[in-house]
């Protein structure tokens, strides 16, 4: 089950709209697939991200995966707790394991993302 109030990407990231900002993280499915996450690299506040731009990496014991901006925007916050506790992404991917806050350039981009039902469909199709 994925939270119904979020939007999703095919790259297994989630987006929560909060006023004119978006909060971004990776889904439980992505975290489970990666396994134990041991390192997260996030961008500095103020950086402008294009839609689909690589904004960081998440590393499990075995693998390195890029993170992609699900929408365009300027970084207004990054989850500093992940530097010391990257395992939060595994234990609470939709909560304490959040990664990024960004100011939306074009709120309409959010509407183009998958809703919960479409994302669940994507995951179930493997």
């Amino acid at each position: 089950m994925v939270p119904g109030d979020l939007r999703y990407t095919k790259e297994h990231e989630w987006v929560r709209v909060d006023g004119d900002e978006a909060v971004v993280g990776i889904t439980q499915f992505a975290a489970d697939q990666l396994g134990d996450i041991v390192f997260v690299e996030l961008p500095a506040v103020g950086r402008a991200l294009d839609h689909h731009a690589t904004f960081g990496v998440v590393e499990s014991v075995k693998a390195v995966s890029d993170l992609f901006a699900p929408v365009a925007g300027e970084v207004t916050g990054a989850n500093d707790a992940l530097a010391g506790s990257p395992e939060l992404v595994n234990s609470d991917p939709y909560g304490e394991g959040w990664m990024l806050r960004m100011r939306l350039v074009d709120p309409a981009q959010v509407e183009e993302l998958l809703d919960a039902a479409a994302y669940e469909q994507l995951v179930s199709e493997g």
Binding site: E59, K62, V64
Partner: protein, 371 residues
């Protein structure tokens, strides 16, 4: 163009056990093997603190038997198997004529005229073919027992305590790098005190038909003492902390034992010709152009296989293996660098996604079990 068909991977004989335990299964070296069960970190920590159970049935077991088995192996490998007492083992390598490593091996002397050579799964065929060729003309025959043998390993500080009640042999009498024939949980086994984790432990070579029984018996006996099943993922992080090389990463066809820091393995003093001797003598005399070192990252990031290692002037080497060490909480790596940079304490950089991250050369191993 010739189309090369990918052979179907061979399922480990314990595949049903792994699936029942919820393992993630991957294709590895032509086999379907478990990569993790509860998670790599948890499995890794269990091996360091209690014990882990490994399915290593993909490894190659090559039995060499005959009145000249020892001398034949001495001519085929860089070590001197005739110097082994019965019931002892040695770490060895098989090299090409140019000194490049075909595989790293463990050679066990099972009887005066019988040796077992254990090869990596990825090279089992190569080693089997090379040995068959090199044994030609000697009074020795090769029996490739790889598919007939199941291999289950128990590794970790509680291994002896867990295994002893099941074993019809006094395990304490088997020293490190020893092997004894015995019965474990009613199953005939070769019981070896070897491993690839940096911990004490035992490897049980059994008939493939009984491998499942052996697995079940050890797992049931060990669960109450903290034993968990461990997959290939944690096997890799455990061996890396222990500074042990992995074929395909630290060792390959283009690498000699000297570059890998395994000078002591090559017995140039042994009598007789052996494949690679001339080339290896030259490397020993001339010195190497790169050397395997341990690195600890002092900046943020994880060095991975293939990342460049830099000095002030540019690229000086390459990372062969790297991970976040679960035991040390540091990003550790092994890398080949110019010999001038091989001294512990040397500061270098690893290039991670285009940025330089500071890394210090440290002695291997990264982790040594408490005495």
């Amino acid at each position: 163009m010739t189309e090369i068909a990918t052979p179907e991977p061979i399922p480990t004989p314990l595949l049903d056990r792994h699936e029942a335990l919820g393992a993630k299964i991957v294709e590895f070296a032509g086999w379907l093997m478990p990569i993790s069960y509860a998670g790599i970190l948890e499995e890794h920590r269990a091996v360091r603190s209690a014990a882990g159970l490994f399915d290593l049935s993909h490894m190659g077991e090559l039995v060499v038997e005959g009145p000249e088995a020892g001398v034949a192996l001495a001519a085929a490998l860089v070590t001197d198997p005739p110097s082994l007492a019965v019931g002892r083992a040695q770490y060895s390598m098989i090299c090409a004529p140019d000194g490049g490593i075909l595989d790293d091996l463990i050679v066990y002397r099972l009887a005066p005229d019988r040796f077992m050579v254990v090869a990596n799964a990825s090279n089992a065929r190569t080693v089997s073919d090379a040995l068959a060729e090199r044994l030609d003309g000697f009074g020795a025959v090769l029996d490739d027992r790889s598919l007939a043998t199941g291999l289950v390993a128990i590794q970790g500080p509680r291994s002896l305590e867990i295994l002893q009640p099941l074993a019809g042999v006094d395990l304490a009498s088997i020293r490190y790098y020893g092997i004894a024939e015995g019965v474990v949980a009613g199953i005939p086994a070769q019981v070896a005190r070897t491993g690839y984790t940096g911990e004490d432990g035992f490897e049980l070579f059994v008939d493939v038909e009984r491998a499942g029984e052996a697995w079940d018996a050890v797992l049931d006996a060990g669960r109450p003492l903290g034993l968990v099943p461990v997959g290939l993922g944690a096997r890799d992080t455990l061996r890396l902390e222990a500074g042990m090389p992995l074929y395909g990463n630290e060792l390959d066809r283009a690498t000699t034992p000297y570059e890998a820091g395994l000078d002591r393995v090559v017995k140039l003093a042994k009598a007789g010709e052996f494949t690679g001797r001339a080339a290896l003598e030259k490397v020993a005399a001339d010195g190497v152009r790169r050397r395997l070192v341990g690195l600890v990252l002092r900046g943020r990031g994880i060095a991975r296989h293939g990342y460049p290692v830099l000095d002030a002037d540019g690229v000086t080497g390459v990372v062969t293996s790297g991970t976040m060490s679960p035991t040390l909480g540091l990003a550790i790596a092994m890398a080949y660098v110019a010999p001038a940079h091989a001294q512990p304490g040397t500061m270098l950089d690893v290039e991670i996604r285009g940025a330089r991250v500071a890394a210090e050369v440290v002695p291997l191993p990264f982790y040594k079990r408490p005495a």
